[in-house]
């Protein structure tokens, strides 16, 4: 960390007008236990701007009808909006074609979709699936289930003490038996940004497809799936200012076309008789049933909102907060930062001597500060550091240095209680 950073008085390097951003989020006016809400649990879910909330209301007040089947006005309108949402996602992650975007309930469903379709078609008994030691449970369990079904083996690429992937070790684990490499773009527990492009190149050298968990990356970085050259990329709207229950999976078109459907139902078929069903084209083949049209409208609004702020500006602001918070929090007696990778995004995980994170969370909550405490659905990461849990503060576009100061005061209060 640079020693030149910083005091709260130091003008932030951010180009974001944070007060203006804050005014876009109605929930930030909430008071918790008589204190202003300090929301630092963004890696769990971000808050939603008025623009996203309005998009949901507008959909239900003016645009609601079922898609892809009606000849009436509203159905056509809803279909157009839905497909416009798909094109917005395509541009957001720079996919080559809109048909490479499948709407899902979120990151987890996208990963399960790949495991249950491409995975079940291609993974056999003596095969291996490679994940990393920093994966969220949602990028471990779907692969474990597949391994159990097929008798395949799950291999785990190690991380070092800073929380970075050991690339040499990872590369050694890619071999003739490997069928899939699955990894997170940004670690939810440690904040590490992984060199996805490099790892994709390693896997592709062996002809192995790569599935990327992008849940923690899309809120903080510009994602370009063609530049990363990954084969699948899954993310959720709710961590990037969008609504809950909607997400998207990018899949390389040639792979999607060769894949069997995920679920059966309406919309994913082109014709059905009791003798034979013909499946619809991609991406509809993977979207059985009436989808979350309102959610797609909200996701589109979230993308537009992020783009209106500027994703690079958001990233710059969050980096500034992370550097400031890391410096201030690590200066406190007894604090140990968990996850000190050179490349990090927006996550500050730490422990405080032998005070259990859950006790810290309760005391911070009394100060109106929302942090996540626990294993962050990444128990193997906790085991790696031999700790049961951490406290995790995670930042978004609307967080401020004075909120970091509130966090620091809160941690001091914890020390007073446990003195």
């Amino acid at each position: 960390m640079s020693a030149s950073v910083a005091t709260p008085e130091t003008a932030t390097r951010s180009l974001l007008d944070v007060e203006k951003v804050r005014a876009d989020f109605p929930i930030l006016a909430t008071r918790v236990h008589g204190q202003p809400l300090v929301y630092l649990d963004n890696a769990a879910t971000s808050q939603k701007p008025k623009a996203v909330i309005d998009a949901l209301v507008r959909y239900y007040e003016h645009g609601n009808a079922n898609i892809h089947r009606g000849v009436h006005y509203l159905s056509q309108l809803a279909t157009e909006e839905f497909e416009a949402g798909r094109r917005a996602v395509q541009k957001f992650i720079n996919a080559a074609e809109a048909s490479e975007i499948i709407f899902t309930r979120g990151t987890t469903e996208g990963i399960n979709l790949v495991a249950q379709t491409w995975g079940r078609q291609h993974v056999g008994g003596d095969n291996e699936i490679l994940v990393t030691a920093m994966e969220h449970h949602s990028d471990i369990v779907p692969w474990q289930m597949l391994c159990e079904e097929k008798g395949a083996k799950l291999k785990v690429a190690p991380i070092n003490d800073r929380g970075e992937l050991v690339l040499d070790e990872l590369e050694k684990l890619i071999g003739p038996k490997t069928k899939i490499v699955a990894l997170t773009h940004v670690s939810n527990a440690l904040g590490t940004v992984n060199p996805v492009k490099k790892i994709v190149a390693m896997a592709h050298a062996h002809g192995i497809p790569v599935v990327v968990d992008g849940a923690q990356a899309v809120p903080h970085t510009i994602v370009d799936v063609q530049d990363l050259d990954c084969d699948f990329y899954s993310f959720s709207a709710h961590k990037m200012y969008g609504p809950t229950g909607i997400g998207a999976l990018y899949g390389r078109k040639a792979l999607l076309e060769a894949m069997s459907p995920y679920q059966g139902g309406g919309d994913m078929i082109s014709s059905v008789t009791f003798e034979k069903t013909t499946y619809n084209k991609v991406p509809h083949k993977f979207e059985a049933g009436t989808p979350d049209m309102a959610g797609v409208a909200g996701l589109k609004a979230a993308i537009e909102y992020m783009q209106s702020l500027g994703i690079e500006k958001i990233a710059g602001h969050e980096h500034d907060l992370l550097v400031y918070a890391t410096e201030r929090v690590s200066a406190l007696d007894g604090v140990k930062i968990i996850g000190t990778a050179a490349e990090k995004a927006s996550v500050l995980s730490f422990t405080l001597e032998d005070v259990h994170p859950h006790d810290i969370g309760t005391i911070l909550d009394q100060e109106g500060i929302a942090v996540r405490t626990g294993h962050h659905c990444a128990q193997p990461v906790m085991d790696r550091y031999r700790i049961p849990a951490t406290v995790r503060a995670s930042f978004a576009a609307y967080n401020t240095r004075s909120e970091v100061d509130a966090l620091v005061r809160g941690i001091r209060k914890v020390r007073e209680v446990f003195a």
């Binding site: 994170p357 859950h358 006790d359 626990g374 128990q379 209680v417």
Partner: protein
């Protein structure tokens, strides 16, 4: 508004820092493991039963201040009690921490310091983890007890 000091009373903090009966008694003939997946708390409760009576009790593991202090004070309370008495104390303790009844505060003695937990509903599991584990050990159940 709930007050932190109601939750983190001195007695609780003291027990969390220096838990009593933090051991596996030599004569252990029953044990159970308890786990709270929400926060990763994990305790093993050991019992040396003499018929229906808890002759000796100990616990080991890791957890937050509330769960550790609760385990510590539980061991002090149930040592020498019968299975039925331990069960009845847990019922009263459970009523206390869930805010269902504060009638038994006098009867619960030192355990009454946990009454503040009722103002912090997400922490009830912390206060009761060791007790659920004790029940499992008393019943001789082998499977791991989870509060989820």
């Amino acid at each position: 508004m709930p007050e932190l000091r109601d939750l983190y009373q001195e007695v609780i903090l003291e027990h969390s820092k220096a838990p009593r009966n933090y051991k596996e008694p030599a004569g252990t003939n029953h044990k159970a493991e308890g786990y709270n997946p929400l926060c990763g708390d994990r305790f093993t409760v050991y019992l040396e039963m003499d018929g229906e009576t808890v002759r000796d009790i100990g616990f080991q593991g890791a957890g937050c201040a509330i769960s550790k202090a609760s385990a510590s004070m539980m061991t002090q309370t149930v040592k020498g009690k019968t299975k039925a008495e331990a069960h009845r104390i847990f019922q009263k303790f459970h009523d206390l921490v869930t805010g269902h009844s504060h009638d038994s505060e006098a009867e619960l003695g030192k355990l009454a310091v946990f009454s503040g937990v009722s103002e912090f509903p997400v922490r009830v599991k912390c206060a009761t983890l060791a007790w659920h584990t004790l029940e499992a050990a008393l019943e001789g159940k082998q499977e791991k007890i989870s509060t989820e």
